[in-house]
Amino acid sequence: MNNPADTVRKALVELLPRLRRFGRALTRNQDDADDLVQIAIERALRHSDQWQPGSRLDSWIIGIMRNAWIDEIRARNRRGALFAPEEAGEHVGESPMQALTESLAIQDAVARLPEDQRIVIALVLVEGFSYREAAELLEIPIGTLTSRLARARTALQSLLGPQHEAAQ
């Protein structure tokens, strides 16, 4: 029963809340985020032999999610549907916690960032990856990562306004 596929399966169950969070930071929309998680775990299970035991499973699956998201963006571009039109109140999830205006404002601000800045924010500030880990995951030089992160932060600071700056 203790084959690698089962190990991956169990570990992925533990990671699901985090994967959903990462998906939400990436895709702006709860349904898209969960679709993305589902696609990534299906891929991961099919290719569980590619994960090296001992290496970080979270980086691996998040890399798969990121690739799946890039594929999806390309497919949408081809179809001419850049993003599904957002409906009013779309970001309001069922959880009462999520209705907290601060969380909503923050998630909305991230949603307004350009794609390349959004993923950097999602990896470093939301998921807590180090610069080096995030750069490896994105296959970009660490300097590129740092400058994107700095630009994204400046944009977020102006989107979120001065009332949030005092929050520490």
Binding site: V13, R21, Q38, E72, S95, R153
Partner: protein, 247 residues
Amino acid sequence: MKFSDEILMAYADGELDAATRADIEAAMTSDPELAASISRHRATRELLRRGFEPILDEPVPSRLLDALAPEAPRLAGAEVRPLPARGAATAARPTRRWSWPEWGAMAATLAVGALIGAGLRIAPGPLMETRDDGLVAAGELSRALSTRLARDAAPGAEIRPGLSFRSAGGDYCRTFVAGRVAGLACRDPDRWRLELLSTLPEAGTGAYRPAGAALPGVILEAVEARIEGDPLDAEGEAAALERGWRD
């Protein structure tokens, strides 16, 4: 300013080596703007963490848990006939909206594995157990089969017995619906032997079928293959239950 904004950001994120850190800390004592920049970067980091944290506490949708459900145990001595791939696939993965190239190929391999986990809010483990000679009902499923009359099953109940009948061999058998799985169980002296499991046809996302809704064809065929006479009526069912499903 001697330090770039990127360096100050990296300081706030704990990304700098000790020497650069010491340089910044020394400069900070005489430059309040430096300290303010760093604290702004820290505040943004903290805000982002907090902004997405509530998502961790949301319930995980069952379709994601289903996708990670372990493979179903092999059913020795039991007949397993999943519905045709299309039905099984939609029942098992109800709500994903994206089309995905590999999806078609996966549907065929999914059927049996998805069968047991599909749609059950109760974990599959407690509902069934493998024995040397096959699969038997356990936990809630066993209890429902032994003690619940079909007419008493609430429409939204997780496990609902359906038809009860005597088999040609003299055993009592009952069909049941559990989540999106339908099955047929027959009574051994001390347990319910699971003869057949099948996914229910798709009934809309998250919707449970009303009691008495049509059972999958494979289940009805299996009933027909085993039944002696007519199904038990409500009175006969109650009497059989009273006798513990024995003669």
